[in-house]
Symmetry: C2
Subunit: 109 residues, 2 copies
Amino acid sequence: MEEAKGVVKHVLLAKFKDDLSPEKIVELIISYANLVNLIEPMKAFQWGTDVSAENLHQGFSHVFESTFESVEGVAEYVAHAAHVEFLNLFMPALDKVVIIDYKPTFVKL
Amino acid sequence: MEEAKGVVKHVLLAKFKDDLSPEKIVELIISYANLVNLIEPMKAFQWGTDVSAENLHQGFSHVFESTFESVEGVAEYVAHAAHVEFLNLFMPALDKVVIIDYKPTFVKL
């Protein structure tokens, strides 16, 4: 097993509120994705919707994963004005959220 | 934005039961990691423990991410005898679990 040097994955699971329109959800996802252009320590971003068949997703419908080069990079991101502005729009749109950061140990790439 | 052709990320967030020993947790993680050697459609595996500072991890302490080449690959994995045997040990050790699969759209790699 090998731990990626410093790399931190920032994982956010979301369930949007039921009364949110699909257009509003797309708008929020675009705003989230755009942070990668605004916040230097945010190195990569990927997202997708639940396609699981095991029915253990606990109502979460969206996954967002950002990549940082260090824990300090995540801290800089969290405090960044563009992130704070985004969160003020994003968080009120959510019914449920989990945010967890981890330094991945790769068993096989 | 570009969607990775067919690739499915299988994300599992876990909180182990409080009475589990650290040795038992390591043993379970090694068993999980070993699935990548036993189940052909499981192409990659990475894991790590929570290092987040935002306190939105809802008690989850571990992230496990597996990569598959298709939704069919995940289905084959879920039904595989080695996975079923592993789950019979792993699931009773958990206090909380979320499992969500998604086809990542990469905004920046």
